[in-house]
């Protein structure tokens, strides 16, 4: 892949805000932390913008940041129904990896990974990006063979991927139960060493602060109530804070994509489903990597605070309720305790659901629509967090130039008519 020449948007950082560094921290410590400035303004909407992004999650804020920094579109706004990163950005399990099967997926997720690798520096914000490795485990002979096919395909795309034997896994994750007589015995796995985690809130805050620095208006508590059209052209967004005119509108609202599409009179092949996660009480460090199991729909990592972060499979029915059914986390916890007996007495502190926008082929939609000036970035389903920078980068390019670049082109909506699907059910990690 020829990704070395990505425009990361760094040149446009104007540094109007105080630079965050160890020295500024020390200075402020001496000042009882009284001198920190607001990270972003509480903007009120102007009458008109060059572009409006609906959705103040990671993807939406990244889109705004790259629109301003790479494409010099600074007269733009991000509007958010609730608070920044309060949707799926703050509800995921923060796993980052780029080990997807197909070329189209490899190119967008690896694009994101390259951006992740310098993002804290780009944004001057500590996003706590930790490349602690992501290990996906196999529980059957068949899964092991499928995994080796996957590993070779991933390697051919220049992405790091290694097969681990049960002996390797025993060394890499000493607390894992390697008994071959359990319900789901661990028979092997594959590891992406460059994979890992990042602090999800910090990603939203970092992008918001950097975008605000360039003049982007970030408007919270502003719900979209309608999309104003003139024939086949978008001309504005109706909100609870009044009409905001714009001839370019990008929708990045995950679970509510179908609701917005309905306002515009178009349709999307999306089903909104609850995806649940839990965190435990904090304990001493016992797990320094991320473990995923596709067969039992369990993924686990340990946060810097010491909480075990566990994710479950997606619920089986459509919902907008941000909560799911109890059997789903119950099954996941049963699998977690079998794989990690050390967790059996652990108490769970919090449990929540996010509404994910699942697509028939488990790949996202980054596309123009039948309405000129209206763009959608959705369908990331159960795994959007890992793509945040890459998604924002290519979506900004699509909005600025009104044509998809090479990375975004395969993700156009018309793939559901042509049949050129990007079937990533196997790599998506969670069954749709």
């Amino acid at each position: 892949m020829t990704e070395s020449n990505i425009d990361r948007g760094v040149r446009a950082l104007r540094d109007r805000k105080k630079h965050y560094s160890i020295f500024s921290l020390a200075r402020q410590a001496g000042n009882y932390h009284q001198g920190w400035q607001q990270a972003w303004r509480h903007a009120e909407p102007k009458a008109e913008y060059d572009a409006v992004i609906i959705g103040g999650g990671g993807h939406g804020l990244a889109t705004a940041y790259y629109l301003a920094s790479v494409h010099n579109m600074t007269n733009i706004a991000v509007i958010e129904k609730g608070w920044l990163g309060g949707g799926n950005t703050g509800r995921n399990t923060t796993i980052i990896r780029s080990n997807y099967l197909w070329d189209e997926s490899a190119s967008i997720y690896e694009h994101a990974m390259k951006l992740w690798e310098g993002l804290a520096q780009d944004l001057n914000f500590n996003i706590m990006f930790s490349q602690r490795g992501v290990l996906t485990i196999a529980h059957s002979e068949h899964e092991l063979k499928e995994m080796s096919r996957r590993v070779h395909a991933i390697r051919l795309n220049g992405i790091d991927s290694d097969i681990l034997s049960p002996e390797d896994i025993k060394k890499f994750v000493p607390i894992m139960n390697m008994d071959q007589n359990i319900r789901y015995p661990v028979m092997g796995g594959f590891l992406q060493k460059r994979g890992g985690t990042a602090r999800h809130d910090a990603v939203a805050w970092g992008y918001a602060r950097a975008a605000d620095d360039m003049g982007v208006d970030i408007i919270q508590n502003c719900e979209v109530t309608g999309l104003r059209r003139q024939g086949r052209r978008i001309v504005g967004v109706e909100t609870t804070k009044g009409l905001i005119k714009s001839r370019k509108v990008g929708c990045v609202v995950a679970g509510h994509s179908s609701v917005l599409a309905d306002m515009a009179g178009i349709r999307l092949p999306i089903a909104s489903r609850p995806l649940q996660a839990l965190v435990s009480e904090p304990i001493k460090p016992i797990l320094d990597t991320v473990i995923m199991s596709n067969a039992v729909h369990m993924y686990i990592s340990q946060s810097d605070k010491g909480e075990m972060v566990l994710g479950a499979g997606v619920d089986k029915y459509n919902s907008y309720a941000q909560r799911g059914s109890f059997p789903v986390p119950e099954h996941m916890l049963a699998a977690a305790v079998e794989l990690f007996p050390v967790l059996s007495r652990l108490r769970m502190l919090r449990h929540w659901g996010g509404i994910v926008d699942t697509c028939p082929d488990a790949s996202p939609i980054i596309s123009r629509t039948d309405i000129d000036g209206l763009y959608f970035n959705c369908g990331w389903g159960t795994g959007g967090f890992k793509a945040t920078p890459g998604s924002g980068h290519v979506f900004a390019d699509l909005i600025a130039n009104d044509r998809p670049n090479d990375i975004a082109a395969p993700y156009a909506l018309n793939r559901f008519e042509t049949g050129l699907l990007i079937d990533e059910h196997g790599a998506a990690g969670v069954a749709h």
Binding site: S258, R267, N318, A321, R368, N414
Partner: protein, 126 residues
């Protein structure tokens, strides 16, 4: 956790059931001409309402029979359970059935026996 009233077995826990997604999707007949765009409506495009939704469920760990459910996707409240080959009878269910874009879609017209006049088949650029 949902409790679903299987029309054949009575009230059971959600775990015994599988959800089959949107109900009342008719397959276009092979003899009726249809564009790729319209066929995508049948194959991939699904209703995804925030509110009343008509969906298919199967009592997969019980009698293994399919049936339809009217459910609210915000409150998860089940408003009606009715047999697979019938239409909803509650007011909310009937309204949701009539309001669906699918009722007017060329794909549904092409599912009827008599060949319908289909609109000019062109693949949109969307």
């Amino acid at each position: 956790m949902l409790e679903i009233n299987c029309p054949y077995c009575g009230l059971r826990d959600e775990e015994e059931f599988a959800c089959g997604g949107e109900a009342h999707i008719a397959r276009p007949l092979v003899d009726n001409p249809i564009s790729d765009k319209d066929f995508a409506d049948y194959l991939f495009y699904r209703d995804n309402p925030k509110g009343v939704f008509l969906e298919r469920w199967r009592h997969s760990a019980g009698c293994r029979r399919w049936f339809n459910v009217v459910r609210d996707t915000v409150s998860h409240h089940i408003l009606e359970v009715y047999p697979i080959d019938t239409k909803p009878s509650t007011k909310a269910g009937r309204a949701a059935y009539q309001a669906s874009w699918r009722r007017q879609s060329p794909a549904e017209a092409a599912a009827r026996k008599v060949p319908q006049k289909t609109r000019k088949t062109s693949i949109s650029k969307r």
